[in-house]
Symmetry: C2
Subunit: 391 residues, 2 copies
């Protein structure tokens, strides 16, 4: 069979994180390696009520096949929510996906020919590298600054390359926690307006801003761009519900690709989440998640200040679930990982998030899925092994 595998499978491998997570499944390990929401944030009782309600009222219907686009009232709800956040879209411009990750597959199918140039932030979401990778593009990467993409580098790359697609996580990026400023979003939109480029804005964490003010998505300034959203971080990731926002011309193609892929997303959970949303105050629920994550993030930042050497740099995210650490040049986070595991602490070495092999001295820390006690103890141990590595 081995000789029959497609070319595209040669370039991709099992997720590095996946392999690391296996190492860290041990209950004794304090793990900052995963990317899981805190299960304490799941509205279990409310979901139970919603599910009972829809099953008793419309059982036959919600267990049946449904439309490729997704449940219309749910799409209308999403459109309405965007309008409150400064983005005008219609329900027809929204399609429900099996988690927002599926959006990457769908836009790749719709736009990418083999060898097309896809621009990625450096570093970027690891699973995006894998998902795009299956379409055999040529990856080009652009550096990130504290307030988003480095505009000068971007301009130079655009001048020198015919880029087909630019994929960006604009809020509390996984892995760095970096958020694009409003000015940068506007500047980016201005530049891209004149280019024949598909801008894909992935925004799974946008609702979890626990510090500072919300900023409209780039799509608010760049109509033709594609935007992904998700219920994974505010309701439940196990239900696999995300969405794509795109104009009608693009959406027509996305519908075709989605229909060929899996007919439609899980209708049962679409109905359950919709019922949950209209019967409850989602904003109050999100506030609780924000309080939880803000607290954990603050603990992590203050513990890093206390225990990490001074020449170690780190981001101070205003939302999301991750914090990014940069060791002094010359140090390797893989070496640090080996030492940390011996102390029963885990994280993800940063190199995995780069397509150009750089980032050797960086690492990603997740704060959403550990309590304060674990964070205090884990960061203390990590500080010790960083000191050890530097000596």
């Amino acid at each position: 069979m081995g000789n029959l595998f497609a070319e595209r499978m040669k370039s991709v491998h099992k997720s590095f994180i996946r392999e690391i997570l296996k190492v860290t499944e041990d209950k004794n390990i304090i793990s900052f390696a995963g990317g899981l929401p805190n299960p304490k944030s799941f509205p279990v009782n409310e979901i139970t009520d919603a599910v009972s309600k829809i099953l008793s009222q419309n059982g036959d219907e919600i267990l049946q096949y449904s439309t490729t686009e997704g449940y219309l009232p749910l799409r209308e709800y999403i459109a309405e929510r965007y309008s409150k956040k400064g983005l005008k879209v219609s329900a027809d411009e929204i399609l429900i996906t099996n988690g927002s990750q599926q959006g990457i597959d769908l836009v790749s199918k719709v736009f990418l020919n083999k060898g097309d140039k896809v621009l990625l932030e450096n570093p970027t979401y690891l699973a995006a590298i894998q998902s795009f990778g299956l379409f055999e593009p040529q990856f080009i990467s652009v550096p990130l600054l504290e307030d988003g993409v480095d505009i000068d580098s971007l301009q130079r790359i655009l001048d020198e390359n015919k880029i087909k697609m630019f994929y960006s996580v604009t809020n509390f990026q996984n892995p760095t926690g970096i958020t694009y400023s409003k000015e940068k979003r506007q500047k980016l939109a201005e530049i891209l307006k004149n280019e024949d480029i598909v801008f894909v804005e992935d925004n799974p964490y946008g609702e979890i801003r626990f510090l500072g003010d919300d900023i409209p998505p780039v799509k608010a300034y760049l109509e033709d761009s594609v935007l992904f959203g998700s219920f994974s971080k505010i309701v439940s990731p196990g239900m696999r519900l995300g969405w794509i926002v795109a104009n009608e011309e693009i959406m027509e193609k996305i519908i075709i690709a989605k229909q060929a892929l899996d007919l439609h997303s899980n209708y049962f959970t679409q109905r359950a989440v919709y019922q949950y949303l209209i019967d409850n105050n989602i904003d109050e629920h999100i506030e609780k998640i924000k309080d939880m994550y803000r607290n954990q993030r603050n603990t992590m930042v203050s513990m890093i200040e206390k225990y990490f050497p001074e020449n170690v740099e780190y981001t101070k995210p205003e939302g999301g679930m991750f914090l990014w650490v940069t060791l002094p040049e010359g140090l390797s986070s893989m070496d640090l990982f080996e030492l940390a595991i011996k102390e029963n602490v885990a994280f993800v070495p940063g190199q995995a998030f780069y397509v150009d092999g750089s980032g050797i001295n960086s690492l990603r820390l997740n704060f959403s899925n550990s309590n304060n006690e674990q964070i205090e103890e884990g960061i203390k141990r990590l500080g010790n092994v960083i000191h050890e590595l530097m000596n």
Copy 2:
């Protein structure tokens, strides 16, 4: 944007069935056009109990992210069920998909390079044509006889072509209702054993055999082949749960592709369906579905005998949801469709299921989603318009 779409999107269009279904949404139309299970077959109360149970016992866990392969006890259940049906597979050889349709995308990703030759039955499942089509293969088609693929034609095609993949629906095929005999399965396996070909066996209807005896899947005779299964026809299609069975070498690649595609299938419904399966007698439930569909199929067959002209041919399926009608040469089922719609009866013209433009005089009738009264009246009207067309 239009100039940025990928090459692959040029070859696919919105589903013809989908467009037809829109026409037939009118409540006054008796529709044999769809492919829906009868909603009366959905175990609404039992699913309600299962969902309440898992939410109260493991709410935090079932709403969280999970593994790419799918819930292990569910995969073990599926493996165990196969072993009772003459197929030995382990849970490690099973991955849960977002409906079995997603299996087509995954095997295409794993095996197909652009231009590879994919062999399809003529006619075949329409959505398979669309799903494979996005990988830009060259389609070759092989005729179906009453007991499965035409072996002579198959042998000739294999001699003359380097076929990469052969996709087959071996039980109660959509659209024809044709089932491979045991002898044909064995013969097919014997031939394919000596070829470097991926045999993909799609089996969404296999559990719904209402006449005759179960026959083991081709995979029972051809270890390296890939098999798809589904809960859509026996529990609920809206929950989008299917699976792929493949050996470990292939499965390793499928896991990579699945992880890149959408991380994992809906965990909430995996747990719900598993709880339903272990708390209930699924075989008793399937018997009820069989009784229902056997009755509807018998009504359709006897009404066709009564109302259709003698020179119209049709299949007499032993299971599944479809029956296939062939009009005398020279007649067009598209013309018949125009006449039928005026009489408020709908079906799917058969040409859509052929990749070579043939099948102009064929049509597909669905019997699972109409009651006996509708079937009697609908077939009567259809008989009238066939007579009209022939005059």
